[in-house]
Symmetry: C2
Subunit: 236 residues, 2 copies
DNA sequence: GCGTTTTTTTACCATATGGTAAAACAACGA
DNA sequence: TCGTTGTTTTACCATATGGTAAAAAAACGC
């Protein structure tokens, strides 16, 4: 799977059990009475919902929830505002849909940490993937950052449901590695925070990074630095 | 100077050559013709501008620029909206004033790195101070994060003027330390980014951190982790 | 082709919001 | 105390914005 589309990958590719699939499902739910089976969304529904979410990702990630307007989203999607409200029940619905769809994808790299793999190697691979995501999907990163910055009013519930179990599990794995002496001892949760913050920094604070860095080499430099950082921290 | 008041320290404490002092000065500038000398702002002006900026810091840091409303600021400041516009020329003026006042303070810890001190010690002290600032001044951190996330539309100019020279200088210092073998070799600029991101993370992503951490020990744990992180990275 | 359903457009609305004018009021110096 | 200056309130306004109703236009099933 190429890394040039995250949020909308599966749908674009045509698979049917994925983020946008769920998204469309949830739409059906909100427009039909609960008794009839979900009629499969038409080609045109798929296309337009996709367009809207794409446009909304642009706008929300750039201006934040309140800073974004339906008109901007509509314009960017090439649809009229009422038309957008035909597909989504409101501004918040779009935002939540985006956030929900993003969650799984965002956590995927952590899920891919292999308990059977070489500890240091697994962590370094995770760091690299997270950094890659910052480069490839800065909009998603900023959407997320905006939401959490404002106190996670809309995604907060997911923290307990999806994020926490995964983090707990991963932290346990890392700490078991530490105890076995296969990693230098660290607080696994703070380690995870540091990985998130250092990698996402390059997307979320891009304006600052660009202003301070000689340019172009940004990502290569970051990659190398983070590699060194976590090698020195974690080598047993 | 204690670290329990950042942006408004001096004024609250009554000293007169500090951020808010400058803030008030800039106000005078915008309300009088340029030919007469600045009449010193009255007690009441100081007090009300202070209140407004305090309230605005609350509101802007919580909701972002566009998410914040003058009415919220007014309410929080205990003044009427038109009254607020008597002291500031508009919403943007308040925001810019806040950001400008914050800049110096935000950079202070970096300025305090002592070229004569012990390298590792100086960096660790810097990390600790930054982390402390995240704990003590989360609003300021979020205000900043919000601004940079949106592309630094209002603070961008400062990057070239204030931030870049200081970062360049500090990076040079760190790299000279590296070359002298007093620090393990690192890319100084990425090191700085990592310090910023890991420390500010605890303020900016507090909603997430709180959801994932067993609680209370948050800061002690962070402190210890970051200490370890940078010791292992930088010990020669 | 034709009736039915889905999609899109046109024309609105209510509210929120940044901002202003000018009157009322308070403080202050003479 | 009076006039002047500085401060606050009252009453507004223009625009932006999220959202709706209902007609018009496509699409679709047969």
């Amino acid at each position: 799977m190429q890394a040039d589309h995250l949020l909308f990958t599966g749908v674009i590719r045509g698979s049917d059990d994925n983020k946008l699939g769920n998204v469309v499902e949830s739409w059906s739910m909100s427009h039909h009475s609960a008794d009839d089976a979900d009629p499969k969304p038409s080609r045109i529904q798929m296309r337009n919902r996709k367009r809207i979410l794409e446009a909304a990702l642009d706008v929300f990630s750039q201006h934040g929830y309140r800073g974004a307007t339906l008109d901007q989203i509509a314009e960017s999607a090439g649809l009229s505002k009422p038309n957008i409200l035909y597909y989504f029940s409101g501004k918040e619905d779009i935002h939540v849909t985006l956030l929900n769809g993003l969650m799984d994808t965002w956590l995927a790299p952590m899920r891919e940490i292999d308990p059977e793999g070489d500890p240091l190697n697994e962590i370094l691979r995770y760091v690299r993937r997270k950094l890659e995501m910052s480069r490839e999907f800065p909009r998603e990163s900023r959407l997320f950052a905006n939401e959490v910055l404002q106190g996670a009013p809309r995604i907060g519930p997911h923290f307990g449901a999806d994020l926490k179990p995964l983090v707990d599990e991963t932290a346990q794995l890392i700490e078991s590695w530490s105890k076995q002496g296969r990693l230098a001892p660290v607080d696994a949760r703070h380690l995870i925070f540091s990985i998130w913050s250092t990698t996402q920094h390059y997307a979320d604070f891009d304006a600052q990074v660009q202003a301070l860095l000689p340019d172009d080499d940004t990502h290569a430099g970051a990659q190398e630095f983070l590699d060194t950082l976590y090698k020195r921290l974690l080598s047993p």
